[in-house]
């Protein structure tokens, strides 16, 4: 199958069940809201070592935030409820509470609630004030720039992590440019994030390693430097492969984002240098969700 003259491999992306929550971070201006969320989503690329995968979902207009200030919506994904709870509390405590002018609110409603500011309130050392507004509890914690406002709880919902596709290109410049176009096209896509730096991964991994102590190692089948020595899946004209990983709240969110991103990059001017679009999987045995590229792009 070809899309805009770019070959689409007959394969699928393998994704996993995860737990997710959404928070809304606001501040006096865009600069400080961005500082806060950049800090919050730092070192949150993969659950393999970071505990949580997090990213900015979208920038919010003043009319869209609970307090009418500049804000960002952030999604956090984790493999377990406990880890999500721990990471959320730690990151909000160290990155949002500490950042001037900020406030944090829940971005999701649901039955399964996890603490957001519930324990952070103790930072107020008894001077914190509880406020019940519209059925939700908020905490006003006195800090040196005035007060920090945070919602007590946020909802945790089931989500999917690890939707992905691989861009196979003739050289690194083209590959990177294609990925940038793809990421830009889903920048404000609802309910999805691309947790890796700039949304792009260059070190795609496979499960296991020849070394017993390592749970993941380089995806040798897609390394252009190993074309002669490994079970390569690359043709002789592929000089660079990059991966875009997409986490989403629902399956259709990931499918829509994959479709938008792949369509966008195949329309780039130098698309003749894109050799193909493939996807990362583990033979279909590990992940609960399979995203078949050709089916999505039909």
């Amino acid at each position: 199958m070809y899309l805009n003259r770019v070959f689409i491999h007959n394969t699928f992306a393998e994704a996993f069940n995860m737990k997710a929550c959404r928070i809304i971070v606001t501040a006096d201006n865009d600069k400080w809201a961005k500082n806060a969320v950049n800090s919050l989503t730092g070192f949150a690329t993969s659950v393999i070592a970071c505990g949580v995968e997090a990213g900015i979902e979208c920038k919010l207009k003043k009319s869209e935030t609970p307090d009418g200030r500049q804000g960002y919506s952030v999604l956090l994904f984790s493999m377990s409820r406990g880890e999500l709870e721990k990471q959320l509390e730690t990151r909000v405590g160290q990155c949002i509470l500490t950042c001037p002018t900020t406030a944090v609110f829940s971005g999701l409603d649901g039955e399964d609630m996890i603490p957001l500011g519930k324990n952070l309130r103790y930072f107020g050392d008894g001077y914190q004030i509880s406020k019940q507004i519209d059925g939700k509890r908020f905490w006003r914690i006195p800090v040196m720039d005035g007060e920090f406002l945070c919602e007590e709880k946020t909802a945790r919902i089931p989500a999917i992590g690890g939707g992905n596709f691989l861009v196979l290109a003739k050289d690194r410049d083209v590959c990177l440019k294609a990925c940038e176009i793809a990421i830009e096209s889903i920048k404000n896509h609802p309910n999805v994030i691309t947790p890796f730096p700039g949304g792009v991964v260059r070190s795609g991994s496979k499960v296991g390693s020849k070394y017993k102590f390592l749970i993941a190692s380089t995806n040798d089948e897609f390394c252009p430097t190993l074309k002669t020595s490994a079970n390569t899946q690359l043709g002789s004209n592929v000089g660079c492969v990059m991966e875009i990983v997409i986490n989403g709240l629902e399956r259709k969110d990931i499918e829509n984002a994959m479709k938008t991103a792949i369509s966008a990059l195949t329309k780039m001017k130098s698309n003749k240098d894109i050799v193909g679009i493939s996807a990362g999987n583990y033979g279909g045995k590990l992940g609960q969700h399979h995203f078949k590229l050709r089916k999505i792009l039909k």
């Binding site: 609970p66 307090d67 009418g68 004030i129 406020k131 507004i133 519209d134 059925g135 908020f138 005035g146």
Partner: protein, 265 residues
């Protein structure tokens, strides 16, 4: 939206307790019509006093209501009750969830012991608004209430939590023994306001009430824009909390009083 509509057929002679009328799981409209009500010395079918139409649902509409209708929405936990006209005592008493909207006035003990939900009253409210029920130790336990008009005396006694927005004036002995909560009063305030308060947040326009408090430093309160946006959204009125600037007063002379006042200018 499906609604169960009650319209009073005639002017009532006696007070009518309708507390049980809305909280039953009816199977069809016939069951609603045959519901027994105590009226004066008699027990009568609901259909004798009301013309009942619409669909069986937890969205209730009461048309041509009367101030002799008591206990409307008592213990309510359905979706909504919309009332056109005045209602009597105990509106929304100890209601748990849902929304009650009154396009008229209410009598005494409105929303006493309310535990949750939202009440909008487009007219005035009588005495003992959000009062403490006889069997309870606290008044308003939670919920959101908006009153477009004025309030009588002895309102909001022993309020525990929740938010109350009053666009008009309030009578004497308001907010006594208040435990906590958030209250916005736009109009005049009667004597003996806030006696023996423990905690709470007041948004007021009357400076005299701040005389026992110490003015806080001018700084940014993140809570305030958030509160303003919520108040505007609840009341659907962008101007209800309008101000040029505000001052915060806290640390009352009475050390047991931990309340704060935001004074709007």
């Amino acid at each position: 939206m499906k609604s169960l509509i009650f319209s009073l057929k005639k002017k009532l002679k006696y007070r009518l307790d309708v507390s049980k009328l809305y909280n039953c799981n009816y199977k069809n409209l016939q069951e609603v019509k045959k519901f027994k009500l105590n009226y004066g010395k008699n027990i009568i079918n609901a259909s004798e006093l009301f013309s009942i139409s619409g669909n069986v649902s937890s969205n209730i509409v009461i048309k041509s209501s009367s101030e002799l209708l008591d206990n409307v929405g008592k213990d309510f936990q359905g979706e909504s009750i919309t009332i056109y006209g005045n209602v009597g005592n105990n509106l929304g008493q100890e209601m748990k969830s849902g929304c009650i909207t009154v396009h008229g006035n209410t009598l005494d003990y409105t929303a006493s012991g309310i535990k949750g939900g939202v009440i909008h009253i487009m007219g005035n409210v009588g005495d003992y608004f959000c009062a403490k029920p006889n069997h309870a130790n606290e008044g308003m336990k939670n919920g959101t209430i908006y009153i477009r008009g004025n309030c009588g005396d002895f309102g909001l006694r022993r309020m525990r939590r929740g938010m109350v927005i009053i666009n008009g004036d309030v009578g004497k002995n308001f907010c006594s023994e208040m435990i906590s909560g958030t209250i916005l009063i736009n109009g005049k305030i009667g004597n003996d306001f806030g006696k023996k308060i423990k905690r709470g947040t007041f948004i007021l326009r009357k400076k005299e009430l701040t005389k026992d408090y110490i003015k806080s430093n001018n700084c940014n309160y993140n809570f305030f824009p958030f509160l303003k946006k919520n108040v505007c959204s609840i009341t659907n009125n962008e101007r209800i909390m309008s101000y040029k600037y505000f001052e915060r007063y806290s640390s009352n002379k009475d050390e047991s009083n931990l309340s704060e006042i935001f004074l709007l200018h």
